[in-house]
């Protein structure tokens, strides 16, 4: 199959509902002889894909109740590789945990222009715990991940490396300097990772300045772990120069280490992390 046929091959191989107007017109305009040649050349692959996609798998036996029971027992202690390299002298240790976000309002990112919380003292940083200068030298973006703590209705400055209890909840904000970027917030525990926000594989497009992870009504989204969870978790803000799925770059980023900007996968341009121990 030559290159021109390959271009048409995809048009003919896609479902018509996936073709736009131009593509539909192009597909319809393929001469009958050429169409037959393409389809004949592609028949075997098409049949093979059909057999492959028709293959049925037995459904797993677990139920929703099993999953909820597992969540309640916090049994997610699967094997874990090397711990997150924060570039600190003594990497944090502890078991992983999961997170609840009690706020159920529409989530969005908004400029920090509301509430006293937005103007509070920035997160206290501990040089020995906080990776420094986490920025790619080739790029002009820099981010500081900050958080505050909600406790019994009061809002306190968050302290990197501190321990918090079940009465505490965290609210995050991003201070982006330099070039605009696409930001995601990760949760990392002993090398296991997940994207905390956004949930859908997208990223948050941010201009420079302070931005609060907030609900649609403007109040900060607050996070707290499951009841009974103890251990150390890191929260990592990643700035990308392109809006790619952060899940694509996280394995490479963690493998390289947050302090090794020279080894970060593209398009990571800046990173910051905080670590919290839950008691």
């Amino acid at each position: 199959m030559n290159s021109s046929m390959e271009a048409l091959d995809l048009l003919l191989a896609l479902r018509p509902t996936d073709l736009d107007g131009d593509e539909l017109a192009l597909a319809a305009g393929v001469p009958a002889e050429q169409r037959m040649a393409i389809e004949a050349a592609d028949a075997a692959l098409t049949a093979l894909i059909g057999d492959w996609s028709d293959e049925e798998f037995d459904a797993p036996s677990f139920t929703g109740a099993d999953i909820l029971a597992r969540a309640a027992n916090d049994t997610d202690e699967a094997e874990r590789p090397a711990q997150l390299d924060l570039g600190v002298s003594e990497p944090p240790t502890g078991s992983g945990s999961s997170w609840w976000v009690p706020v159920t309002l529409a989530a969005s990112i908004a400029a920090a222009a509301f509430g006293a919380w937005s103007f509070m003292t920035p997160t206290e940083t501990s040089p020995e715990m906080r990776p420094k200068s986490l920025v790619n030298d080739d790029e002009a973006s820099r981010i500081a991940l900050q958080f505050s703590v909600e406790r019994d209705g009061a809002v306190l400055p968050g302290r990197n490396g501190a321990s918090y209890g079940p009465a505490d909840a965290l609210a995050f904000r991003f201070d982006l300097a330099g070039e605009p970027g696409y930001v995601a917030l990760l949760e990392v525990s002993d090398g296991d990772w997940d994207v905390v926000y956004p949930l859908d594989g997208a990223t948050m497009a941010l201009d420079q300045g302070v931005h609060v992870l907030s609900s649609g009504s403007g109040s900060p989204l607050v996070y707290r772990p499951d009841d009974g969870v103890a251990g150390t978790l890191s929260y990592v803000a990643v700035v990308l120069s392109e809006p790619v799925d952060p899940g694509r770059v996280v394995p490479g980023l963690l493998a390289a280490g947050l302090h090794r900007a020279d080894l970060w996968p593209r398009p990571v341009v800046a990173v910051d992390a905080v670590t919290v121990t839950w008691e």
Binding site: A13, A40, A44, L48, F62
Partner: protein, 210 residues
């Protein structure tokens, strides 16, 4: 009259009504604490997510464990869930990330022989049995070659042909444009066609006809 209705019948009716709800409504209700909604979602999608992970090259035991992990993450993300996009794109996004995460962990010992799937020999004897076995071998070969594709192309291919997602939904799931989703599909097909040439009898004949 309603007082005479057995409680058991009421429960069945409630379950039936939940099954008629859209994914996004079920997830929203689960987020808000309504019981039973998560069960319906798991029942609706556990086989699909398991199949997706199998097609991504995981062994059955791994795929089942990962599928359970996916639903655990979905449950834990529920408080943050907003129905701004299809639930399925959210679900497959989580499933792909879980697969990526697991693959990164165990890449050194991931088996991709025969696509990671066991190939039973099937019934012995007879032309039909031989054809079935040959077809199974061809499918296993396709699975093997799929596992060798770059992950982003493999994911696009599996989501389109294995899971039946639209190009627009694949674009959302993979955080790319629809045009890039189509480009990845085209590249995956091209690579598969090249790599299967001469190894699957039918594919050989089709290549030779060009």
């Amino acid at each position: 009259m309603s007082d005479c209705t057995p409680p058991r019948l009421r429960l069945v009716a409630a379950g039936e009504s939940l099954r008629g709800l859209a994914d996004e409504e079920l997830m929203t209700r689960h987020r808000d604490g309504h019981p039973g909604c998560f069960d319906v979602l798991v029942e609706r999608y556990r086989a699909k997510i398991f199949g997706f992970l199998m097609r991504m090259g995981f062994q059955a035991a791994q795929a089942e464990e990962l599928a359970a992990d996916v639903f655990l993450k979905i449950h834990r993300a529920a408080p943050r869930y907003e129905p701004t996009a299809k639930f399925t794109t959210f679900l497959y996004t989580v499933a792909r990330r879980r697969g990526l995460n697991a693959r990164d962990r165990m890449s050194h010992r991931m088996e991709i022989a025969a696509g990671g799937h066991e190939l039973d020999s099937g019934p012995s004897g007879g032309v039909d049995a031989e054809r079935q076995l040959a077809a199974k071998r061809s499918v296993a070969l396709l699975q093997t070659e799929l596992a060798r594709l770059p992950e982003e192309h493999q994911a696009a291919f599996v989501l389109y042909y294995g899971e039946g997602l639209s190009c627009a939904d694949i674009a959302t799931t993979l955080s790319i444009s629809p045009a890039e989703a189509k480009g990845r599909l085209a590249y995956a097909r091209k690579l598969l066609r090249q790599r299967l040439a001469g190894r699957v009898p039918e594919a050989t004949s089709s290549e030779s006809s060009t």
